[in-house]
Symmetry: C2
Subunit: 454 residues, 2 copies
């Protein structure tokens, strides 16, 4: 009897989703996402209980264990881990004091990820303000040797696309240390790349070039960068004392977390939806990218809850180590290759869990793009109208080599860089409704792409 | 000599704005708005120094004085006040305790604006939960007499338009007291109308019907409304002790603040851009509507700063008493009528200073609407694409009787009701860039409408 009831129930679910118009399925996805609080609970947990989850940390492993449970609870058929080699870097004591004839003040700083440290005694040097790498070349070793270079090019706030604005300043953080070290600088201090004028520091990774001395690199809050610049104008002999006792340890192991709903018709074809589980140690990683992970788990939960049986296998992936060396995405693609998996499409949510605008599509020919753009009609009732060429994410990009469609979830990012990589990226800065709308948009798109072979 | 220099300077400004393509003028408006911090300073001042500015308050008069100065500083040719009769209502001590067989707990409540008080001793009564006004009729006096009615219909979170969701619940707050008093209720406690599930109360005005006893009306936080409902299910005899010692005093006087740039060609025709200066006493009135006032001041500042000489007279108006009895808008229209002013168009920003979507237009025939919709092309580079029929605002609606075009500024309001009418509506909840984008959009639209006679 129980068997027959189960059979009837399964059949009714099957008929439900296969007989419903796509508009109705999408409406049911939005209705559920907007009234369910599971995602909010998950985000709160990740923010408050796994804060500090940089790749090699215990906190990251805590987040791995938590999201395994969340994926099972959401209804994934199978949940498993993939070993990922990750850097193991630890922040130490930090202090920066600007000393000039005007007096001395403490600056708000943060070591850049993977930076070498100053040692426990710190270091001291004359400051030199620079806006463009070309200036380093112009000055040369004669002027730079032994100095601390202060990179102070701000983000251009008149650029409408905030990621483009960020892109115009972030090379100072990524490459500034090596560029300055070429000419003998002993350390760099970089203005935080953000449109905001506030006291938060925005950290991020520094990449050292081979065969160039590795020097300590920190970022400073935009407010303090302004003060530094003014003081330096008054007293060009200003000195910075810098302590950043961080350390790089040997690489260690962490994990990608994967939850799968097996496909009904083409189980050997995969659609991946993911975010990254690691986050900067100074932040709760709410927008970047706990929220993207939670939205991926929501795809599994919504499909399960609403009885949507995907034709292809759907995987929610919590990628590890996006922020430092992106090994999680590389491992996932390597495993896919080893197992001969067919990756049909992959979506990444890593631009904040803000009000949805739409999606960007990459790695598709014009015909496929046309078909994808035609999906906009299903999203128009929800105010989601941006369907454009170009998109993806750093974790899913290695899947591009198998021809997988690349999809980037695009929210309204006007306020994103107020949070990004800073202590201001907290649970409280997420509006749950905006996150829910994004979850529903993502799950709806995955459903449509799978259903209509797009 | 000085005269000639002034003349040449004026001429060059005239040539500058008249020779520039509209795209260039709009770009310069956005560039200035996105890099200037005057608006941020004004909003910070209003939020932190004039908090509590309900219509009849000293704080409102403080805001009147401050914005007069701000308008002069922004470059208005003339700044003046209009006397506005306003209610004078004061909140008193407040306390609500739910008592049942489960125990007793204190609830987070707030008197509704213009509500009568309970007196200093408070009152006590059995609670009865109601979702629809029809239920009151069904129950009748027999069941309602002497009870405290608990209106607990939530906002429907599945409605995409948050204002529509709010509209589906707010009649409990506006009319619930009189509806319940018809059947002998002694007080009402209303679930705060919001999509949020949190501990903030969202107040607002109550309107008493004539010839119905006026009974005390308060709102309760959504969290506490949930608790009340659960406890009432366990113990239908639950009792509420309610203290809300607020008072209505005789009407008093406050002011609209008006700043004008006189038109170059048609000074007797007016375009008004406004927000309301009063705000709920429990909130800082950042989104509602200090931000809308600041955006209106920005129109004056941007026109002045960029040398845009309007053909018609442009007025920024800080309307008084939108929240209680909307006398500010009525006085402004009455004065206009008395002075025989021609009101060409009026725009109101009163939906939060959030990321801009576009504008809604009212009081225009199809031909004018077509022309207005064609302006969308100028805003597309800024991601502003919503140009639709239907819009305005309660302060500018009385101008409709002179045929003035009605324009509502429409931002993305998905998170608006997390703040609206609550202590959560603070400066910190405003993203300055989102407000700046709105200011630029508003000033650009006013410029285009004036320039092209739309």
């Amino acid at each position: 009897m129980r068997y027959i009831i189960t059979l009837l129930f399964s059949l009714s679910l099957f008929l439900t989703t296969h007989s419903q118009a796509p508009e109705e399925v999408i409406k049911s996805i939005f209705n559920d996402a907007l009234t369910d609080n599971t995602a909010e609970e998950h985000l709160l947990y990740l923010c408050k209980n796994t804060k500090g989850r940089i790749p090699g940390s215990q906190e990251a492993l805590h987040a791995v264990r938590y999201t395994m449970g969340a994926l099972k609870e959401a209804g994934a058929d199978t949940v498993w881990l993939q070993e990922v080699p990750v850097p193991h870097w630890k922040r130490g004591n930090e202090l920066a004091i600007l000393k000039s004839e005007l007096g001395s003040i403490e600056l708000t700083i943060s070591a850049l990820g993977l930076s070498v440290g100053t040692g426990p005694d710190g270091l001291e040097g004359n400051l030199m303000e620079v806006h463009r790498f070309e200036e380093l070349k112009e000055m040369g070793e004669g002027e730079i040797e032994g100095k601390i270079i202060f990179f102070n090019r701000p983000v251009d706030n008149t650029m409408l696309n905030t990621f483009s604005g960020y892109g115009g300043a972030v090379n100072q953080r990524i490459s500034g240390a090596s560029e300055a070290a070429k000419y003998g600088a002993k350390a760099v201090i970089v203005r935080s790349p953000t449109q905001a004028m506030h006291d938060f520091v925005h950290t991020g990774v520094v990449r050292y070039q081979e065969n160039i001395p590795e020097i300590p690199a920190v970022c400073v809050s935009p407010h303090d960068a302004e003060i530094m610049s003014r003081w330096l104008k008054k007293d060009k002999k200003s000195v910075l004392y810098l302590l950043s006792d961080c350390m790089n340890y040997p690489d260690t192991i962490s994990y990608n977390v994967i939850g799968e709903i097996r496909g009904n018709e083409m189980p050997g074809e995969y659609i991946t939806v993911g975010g990254h589980l690691d986050a900067w140690d100074i932040s709760e990683g709410a927008h970047d990218d706990g929220g993207g992970c939670v939205q991926s788990i929501e795809t599994i939960r919504l499909f399960t809850e609403l009885g949507i049986k995907p034709r292809r296998s759907i995987r929610a992936v919590m990628f590890m180590n996006e922020e430092m060396t992106s090994t999680g995405g590389a491992v996932y693609a390597d495993e896919a290759e080893k197992n001969g998996e067919i990756h049909y499409a992959a979506l990444e949510s890593d631009r904040g869990v803000l009000s949805p605008l739409g999606f960007g599509f990459g790695n598709a020919d014009n015909e496929r793009l046309e078909q994808l753009f035609s999906l906009e009609k299903y999203f128009r009732p929800y105010g989601i109208r941006y369907f454009a060429r170009g998109g993806g994410g750093s974790d899913i990009s290695p899947l591009g080599r198998f021809g997988a469609l690349q999809i980037g979830y695009i929210p309204d990012t006007q306020r994103y860089f107020w949070f990004h990589h800073s202590a201001n990226d907290t649970f409280e800065q997420v509006n749950i409704r905006e996150m829910q709308l994004g979850s529903a948009a993502i799950a709806s798109l995955i459903y449509l792409i799978d259903m209509y072979d797009l």
